[in-house]
């Protein structure tokens, strides 16, 4: 693995390997007095965030630090980006400064792919930490890790992804990854919040959440991304919550073993009722915890072993 840009690039074997590594790392750190592995000593990870983030950024930083990598955080606000530097020049600067891995979050879809092209030949790995409305592969991997922890093998499991699929990179990444892992994915959303071309995705589409609930092994609620909405996608927030929010009544209609996921940040009362977010079936805090282990696994696979250039 040279970069991690999209879950669409991962096959079942590759994804399973990453998830197994994440599980081993979790087991490895369990009960340790010192949560520090020497594995990535001398490696440098630079996170570059052109969009706000708490979870992703913190967990990448922790993942790197727990494996003894040097982690440097760059945010668009405090960097030369504010002076008008292009993404390409920023990338080349970071590579020249000695980054072994660049973790990029960017509002433009495809930004991580472009970065990987520009850095081709420098030996710097690129991890996509969310690019516009395209993909957020590390989030999908931590969702899958959480589901595997709760449900075991995902083969044949039915997972609904509910809400603003159109603007959601989390949904796209999860559709590819979950179907690669053998799960049946149902997208539940109003027609206005489904992307063009959804017919060609390996999913079934539904417009009524209530009809799906009793069959589900897991339900993933998406945040309504008001910052990306420049138009009327639904009449009102209250109406959206009534039709597509995970209310207490809907949570009660789920099978007992069903898992509730939310990639965060949550809008309590909008897509998920506050009480539902805090029930035992909700795995939202486990998602955050698994996020660190999954990102450690990604850094391990990208940085610990011999690079392809070394081998040839």
């Amino acid at each position: 693995m040279k970069h991690l840009l999209a879950t669409a690039d991962l096959d079942r074997a590759g994804a399973t390997q990453l998830l197994d590594t994440a599980m081993s790392l979790q087991q490895n750190l369990l009960g340790k007095q010192v949560r520090k592995l020497p594995t990535l000593r001398g490696r440098t990870v630079i996170t570059v965030f052109y969009e706000n983030s708490t979870r992703t950024r913190v967990s990448f930083e922790l993942a790197g630090k727990w494996m003894s990598a040097d982690v440097v955080n760059v945010s668009a606000g405090g960097s030369s980006v504010g002076k008008g530097e292009s993404l390409r020049d920023t990338a080349l600067t970071l590579a020249a400064a000695g980054a072994d891995c660049v973790v990029l979050r960017h509002p433009a879809s495809g930004a991580a792919h472009r970065l990987a092209e520009w850095l081709d030949g420098t030996g710097t790995a690129v991890v996509n930490a969310g690019d516009g409305m395209h993909e957020h592969p590390t989030q999908a991997l931590l969702d899958a890790a959480t589901l595997r922890e709760r449900l075991g093998d995902l083969d044949g499991r039915r997972v609904a992804i509910v809400g603003d699929v159109l603007h959601s990179r989390v949904a796209r990444s999860n559709v590819h990854l979950l179907s690669a892992l053998g799960a049946d994915v149902v997208l539940v959303a109003p027609p206005t919040l489904l992307p063009v071309g959804v017919e060609s995705w390996p999913v079934t589409v539904s417009h009524t959440l209530d009809a799906e609930l009793s069959e589900l092994d897991a339900v993933m609620m998406l945040r309504v991304q008001a910052e990306r909405m420049h138009g009327a996608f639904f009449p009102s927030a209250r109406e959206y919550a009534r039709s597509f929010g995970l209310t207490e009544a809907r949570a009660a209609a789920l099978p007992d073993h069903a898992v509730v996921l939310h990639p965060g940040p949550m809008l309590r009362g909008m897509e998920i009722a506050s009480t539902v977010a805090d029930t035992p079936s909700s795995a939202i805090t486990e998602q955050v915890r698994n996020g660190v282990h999954v990102r450690m696994a990604i850094l391990y696979h990208l940085l610990a072993a011999a690079t392809e250039e070394d081998e040839t």
Binding site: D20, L30, P38, A304, A305
Partner: protein, 207 residues
């Protein structure tokens, strides 16, 4: 992506390996090591301290379980055992394709203030033992750490020696020693594999 496998399949396509220890020899050797552990740690006596066996995957973990079983039969003391994955502590990670991680299981009660006996199949460069010491240090502070190996084949690269050695096997550096165990490989044996012209893998054993 898989690391060079350690065991029966590694010998495929190479000249017939020489059997250094038969299944009976392996059983006798483990029994003798169990007696040595009991004697050296004074197991069963009132003054004895708690002993924990930690095997280094894959075959060291199997050996640790077998040693614990023998020790229980000979001394009546149940010694807790587990596995210690050292992959993340290796100093040769960057010379290999990605190594998959192994299971990790430290027995309840941890390692603090106990005598930890690390168990591995072959002692070679000593680098695995060094990595194991590092890995162990993050689980706590044992009272003492000892090393038990089924076979010592020499060629140390670090100042490390074993406290319990099943069998000393003088080897040439380019030879390979393979420990086979029933639970992993279907039979017990210790084999010496000689490199042979073009068939030699050139993959130096890392243990």
């Amino acid at each position: 992506m898989a690391p060079p496998s350690r065991g029966a399949d590694r010998t495929a396509g190479q000249p017939a390996p020489r059997e250094l220890l038969t299944a009976d020899d392996v059983a006798r050797t483990i029994a003798r090591m169990a007696h040595q552990v009991i004697e050296k740690t004074a197991l069963g006596s009132p003054a004895a301290s708690d002993v924990v066996l930690l095997g280094i995957p894959t075959r060291g973990a199997t050996l640790a379980a077998r040693l614990a079983e023998r020790i229980a039969i000979f001394s009546g003391v149940d010694v807790p055992y587990g596995t210690l994955d050292i992959t993340l502590y290796r100093d040769d990670l960057r010379n290999h394709p990605t190594r998959p991680l192994e299971p990790m299981e430290v027995p309840g009660g941890g390692v603090d203030d106990r005598v930890v006996i690390l168990v591995d199949d072959v002692l070679f460069s000593g680098r695995s033992a060094r990595a194991a010491l590092d890995a162990l240090g993050e689980h706590g502070r044992p009272r003492a750490v000892q090393l038990a190996v089924l076979a010592d084949r020499g060629h140390r690269e670090l100042p490390i020696r074993a406290d319990y050695v099943g069998k000393n096997l003088p080897t040439a550096r380019d030879e390979e020693v393979s420990v086979l165990l029933e639970e992993v490989d279907g039979r017990d044996a210790v084999l010496l594999v000689r490199p042979h012209g073009d068939d030699a893998t050139g993959e130096a054993e890392q243990e």
